[in-house]
Amino acid sequence: MTLIECRELTREYRKGGSVIRPLDGLDLDVDRGEFLSLMGPSGSGKTTLLNLIAGIDSPTSGRLLVDGTDLAALTRSRLAAWRSEHVGYVFQLYNLVPVLTAYENVELPLLLHPLSRRERHERVVSALGRVGLDDRDSHYPRQLSGGQEQRVAIARAIVTNPAILVADEPTGDLDKASAHAVMSLLQELNSELGKTIIMVTHDPATTAYSSRTLHLDKGRLAEANESREVPA
C-alpha cells in the first residue's frame, strides 16, 4: 500500500544569479513498511527529496502526498503539527541539543503532545530502552560516543511513534561497529515496529539493510535495486 507518492516533483532555489534544481520532475512511490535507501552523487537531490518527504522543505512544483496528505497545501503551523505526528528525522550529525541530557533530548518532541509527565516518562524510558541506552539517560551529548549519540537521536525520532522515519546519512560520521549497530537498530524498527524508513546514504554497505535502493542523478531516479545480503 503506497504511503508516499511523488509525481513530477521539482525543487528549485536560487543561489546567486543562477537557479539550482536539485529535484527535477521526480516520480516515486514508497510503500508502507518499506525500508528505502537513496544513493547518488553529491547534488543528486537525495537530501532534498528527504527534506520534502519530511515536510521541512516545499516543492516548487509537482505533487507530494504522504499518507494521503498533500504537504504543499498545509500552512506552516499545520505542517509543523504534521511533522510532530508523522515523521521522525535522524541526522548525520545527530543534532542533539547539547544542554539537554539524553532523557531530555528524547523528551523534547513529546512536549508538543498533551501528555502527562508520567506518560512522557514512560515513553522516553521505552524509547531509550529500545535503542539500548536506558542507562545513559542522564548523560549529556558530550558524554556519549558518536554511536550512542546517534542512538539517542533515533530514540528521539521514534518516541512520538511516527509512521515514517527519514535518516540523512545516519552512519556517515560513525566507525564501522557503530554504523552496524545503528543500521541493525533501523532494520529492527522497520521489521518489528513496521516503520517506513527512507534513508540517504553514500555507503553501499548500509543499503544491504534496506529492502530497496534507489539511485538518484541530477534530480531524477537513475535505477532501482533490490537489497543485498546484510553484512555480518
Partner: protein, 383 residues
Amino acid sequence: MTLPRCLPYVLKQVTRHRVRSLLTVAGIAIAMFLFTVVQAMSEGVGEATSASANETTLVVYRKDRYCPATSQLPQDYQRRIESVEGVVSATPTKVVVSNCRTSLDVVTYRGVPKDAFLRDRGDALEIVAGSVADWQRRTDAALVGETLANRRALRPGMTFDAAGITVYVAGVFRSDDPQDQNVAFTSLEFVQLAGRDQLGIVTQFEVKVADASLLEDVAASIDETFATAQEPTATFTKQAFVGRIASDLIELVGFARWLGLGCLAAVLALVGNSILLSVQSRVSEHAVLQTLGFSGRLVTALIVAEGILLAIVGGAVGASAALAVAHIGSFALSVEGTSIPIIADPALLLTGLVVCGVIGVVAGLFPAWQASRREIAACFRTA
C-alpha cells in the same frame, strides 16, 4: 499550554553560556538599580509637591527670600496672622539646617512652641519610640522624624549634634508628611537661643486654615497685611512652598528621568544583544526544533521567554538592591530645610519587573521572529 512544559528548556538555554548570561544580568541589574533610584526620587518629588484636596496648611515666608538663614520674620506676626479671617492657628517656626547645600544627609531643626505644636499637629504624628512627655519636660529635647532617626541611627535617650546645636532625643515619630519625616522638632526658644540675636525671630509660620477652599484668599490676605511692613511676607500652600524652595532639585530629578529612560535603553540593548548572539549561534538547533514539530510561533515564544527571563532576573536584582539601599539608607534630598524623600516603595519592584518583562519581549521579538521564519532546510544547508 505547550510553552509552560518547555520552560525548563528555556532555563537551560539561558544558563548555557553562564558568563555571558551573568554579564548580561549584571548589566541589567545596574541599569535597573539606577532606574529604580530615579523612580524613587520621582515618587518623592510627587509626594512632596502634590497637594491633596483636603490640604489646609499655608507657609508664610519672608518675601524674596529662599533659605532659612535669610528668611527672618518677627515672631509677633503670629497675632496679626491669626486675626486674618479664615485662619485657625499660626505656628511660628525657626528652621536651622546643618548644611545649606543640597545633600542626602541634612539635619533640619524646627523650633516650635511645644504646646501649640502638639495641639495642632500632635494627632498627625505617631510616636514609634520614646515619649512626648519626655520631649515636653526637657528644653533641649527633640522629637526626631523616623527617616532622620534611621539614617543617623538615633534612639531615645541619645544626644546628637548638628549645626552646632546639641539635642537630646526624646522620641522618634512617623508622619505621612514627607517634610516631617526628615526633621527634628525642638523647642522654639531653644533654637532661637542657639543663634545670635535670634530671640523673637522666626523663619516661617505654619498657618492652619479653616477650609481648603479658603487657602488662596487667606494667603493673599496675609501678604496684604504685611505688604508695607519692614519684613513683607510671601505665603504659599505647603506643596507650592516645597516646589519653590526645592525647584532646582526638582528640575534635577526631572532631568534624571531621562537618565532613567537611558537605563531602560541600556537594558533593551543588553538583552537584545544577548538574545541575538544566542539565536545566531543556534540556527541549526532552532531548525532541529522545527523539524521535530515545534511551530514557528512556539520557537518565537521560547526565544522571547529567554529575553524575558534574563531581563526579569536582572531587573529583580537591580530593583531589589535599589529599594534595599533606599530603605536602609533612609535618604532624603534636602535643600534649605525642605526634603524630597527617596521613597523605597515596594510597588517600584513590581513596576521594574513589568518594565523588564516588556523590554524582554521587545528585545527578543525581532531575533525570535527571524529565527522562526528561516527555511528549515536552508538552515541545515548553511550549517
